[in-house]
């Protein structure tokens, strides 16, 4: 099962690079959906290698697979169609440079996890920490450098997925109630953000967040 685990983590690492260079929103959303599915499989692989899984765990896994791999991407696609925005034009940082920056961030993640050796000694895959850190930083990077409100939502999902990679990879069990709460929160967040994007689009006739700077000191 360890092979499957490292395959999944490697795929998640490459997914970050793809996300950095994707300019079509539909493509971005598809990548996030794939990330959600990989995350579900990751929790399965982790449970398999640790041997502890029961119906509660399976329930959470299936729900998270459905929500992160299906429902949220569908919501995003729906929003995208309704406000008819297809591409992220003129990102703050160009796509090639984004790639290099994400690569540098991934390198940084590998370096950071190499100087904290305790993670490996406790049965977790050595790739979990780099994969989680690099996904988290990719999400933050997307939120900072993309202009469209909807891409920022995508960036947030990537960020959230990165945190979940850490949680599942390190096999930290929160219990059924908390896991369900987490999923519900993320779902509600994307839902409300989608509504906000609608409203921004109606008030400003576009969803360029760089014009949202009237307030401030």
């Amino acid at each position: 099962m360890n092979d499957l685990l490292s395959l999944l983590l490697g795929a998640l690492l490459v997914l970050n690079l793809l996300l950095a260079s994707a300019s079509r929103l539909r493509h971005c959303i598809k990548l996030v959906a794939i990330q959600g599915v990989l995350l579900g499989l990751l929790s399965l692989a982790c449970a398999q290698s640790s041997g502890g899984h029961n119906w509660q765990f399976l329930l959470v896994m299936i729900l998270s697979l459905l929500i992160k791999g299906g429902l949220l991407p569908y919501l995003l696609l729906y929003t995208m169609r309704r406000i008819s925005v297809r591409r992220e034009l003129e990102p703050v940082v160009g796509y090639s440079l984004s790639l290099v920056i994400i690569l540098a961030l991934t390198g940084g993640a590998f370096w950071l996890s190499s100087i904290t050796p305790t993670a490996v000694a406790h049965g977790a895959s050595p790739l979990v920490l780099p994969a989680a850190l690099s996904t988290i930083s990719t999400g933050l990077f997307l939120m900072v450098t993309r202009r469209k409100a909807i891409t920022q939502v995508i960036g947030f999902l990537v960020f959230e997925n990165g945190i979940s990679i850490f949680g599942t990879g390190m096999m930290i069990h929160n219990g059924l109630l908390v896991e369900l709460g987490l999923l519900l929160d993320i779902f509600a967040l994307v839902f409300i953000m989608g509504l906000a994007v609608f409203n921004i689009n109606r008030s400003f006739q576009h969803i360029d967040t760089h014009s949202l700077n009237a307030l401030g000191d």
């Binding site: 092979d3 395959l7 983590l9 490697g10 290099v100 991934t106 390198g107 996890s113 780099p130």
Partner: protein, 312 residues
């Protein structure tokens, strides 16, 4: 793993003999995908036969390279062929560091083509040469990252050992890395051989050509040399990808020999399938794509370094 030089020599001779078959396989696959019958599998052999019977016409503005470039390219590729471990048998010519010689022999072949193309003085060929060099510069990074990955995974700088060593069984991350690196090597192969998402070997529009634009002025046996070296290069790179995916301790030498051969032919079918279902990328998109390939290859490298304990 018992060494059997016989299978290595058999592999080399197969490569020399069957190389023109590979473009035939690709074309046949493409034809099947679109529902045509397509040219015969042996069509490349007929073409070569036809070209070698003809006379050579060379441009009067040429000052020499046009004449010797095809020979130089072919000999560079023939030399490079000597370093691959066919059927996972170590090459008798292998030495430490031959991976770099291998890479630079490929580079020398490209140099010969480019200098020949520049020599004609035609603007189309100059343009093709310029593009070839630009993309080669971007691809080489990814190629060297793959070589670096292989070197790290096998702890060797010897191409034969790199490609034929068994996988370190206790390092799970290496499997992920091998798959990543083989994917990148496949992409490098497509770029180096001017296959579809990067260049269209069948285009008739000089403005969009890369490789084909460089050889517009060749004719007769010269063109035959170039076509044969292109086929050899295709075989060489496909074999590289196949060898990366074939662990050396999988089976005995004869079985490996068959597997290797089947793998290369299967590679031809995969290339044909990729060509049939995808369209050529825009030129502007290519550098970004190649950069992505380089980054992915570096991640594969990082996976191996982590998995094997960072060389400590």
């Amino acid at each position: 793993m018992p060494q059997n030089p016989f299978f290595w020599w058999a592999g080399l001779i197969t490569a020399l003999l069957l190389a023109p078959l590979l473009p035939g396989v690709i074309n046949k696959t493409k034809a099947c995908f679109v529902g045509r019958q397509g040219p015969s599998l042996l069509q490349p052999y007929y073409n070569l036969h036809k070209l070698f019977r003809k006379d050579c016409i060379r441009s009067s503005t040429s000052c020499g390279p046009l004449a010797w470039a095809p020979g130089l390219e072919l000999s560079a590729l023939l030399l490079a062929l000597l370093f691959l471990p066919y059927a996972n048998q170590l090459s008798p010519f292998a030495f430490t560091g031959d991976a770099f010689l291998f890479a630079y022999l490929l580079g020398l072949g490209r140099f010969a083509l480019v200098i020949g193309a520049m020599d004609t003085g035609s603007s189309f060929e100059g343009m093709g040469a310029s593009r070839e060099v630009q993309f080669a510069a971007l691809t080489e990074g990814a190629f060297f990252a793959v070589i670096g990955f292989l070197a790290f995974a096998s702890r060797s700088l010897n191409l034969s050992e790199m490609l034929s060593c068994p996988l370190p069984a206790n390092v799970p991350t290496v499997i992920a890395a091998v798959i990543l690196a083989a994917g990148i090597a496949f992409i490098v192969m497509l770029v180096e051989n001017s296959r579809v998402p990067f260049d269209d070997p069948e285009t008739h529009l000089e403005l969009t050509m890369i490789h084909e634009a460089m050889i517009l002025d060749y004719s007769g046996p010269d063109l035959g040399f170039i076509l044969y070296s292109a086929a050899l290069k295709l075989w060489l790179m496909t074999a590289l990808v196949v060898l990366m995916l074939l662990p050396g301790d999988l089976a005995s030498a004869p079985v490996l020999f068959i597997l290797h051969l089947l793998g290369v032919l299967l590679g031809g079918i995969v290339i044909g399938a990729v060509e049939a279902v995808s369209a050529r990328f825009r030129f502007l998109k290519l550098p970004q794509f190649l950069l992505g390939a380089l980054c992915t290859a570096l991640i594969a490298l990082a996976l191996t370094v982590i998995g094997t304990g960072g060389g400590r």
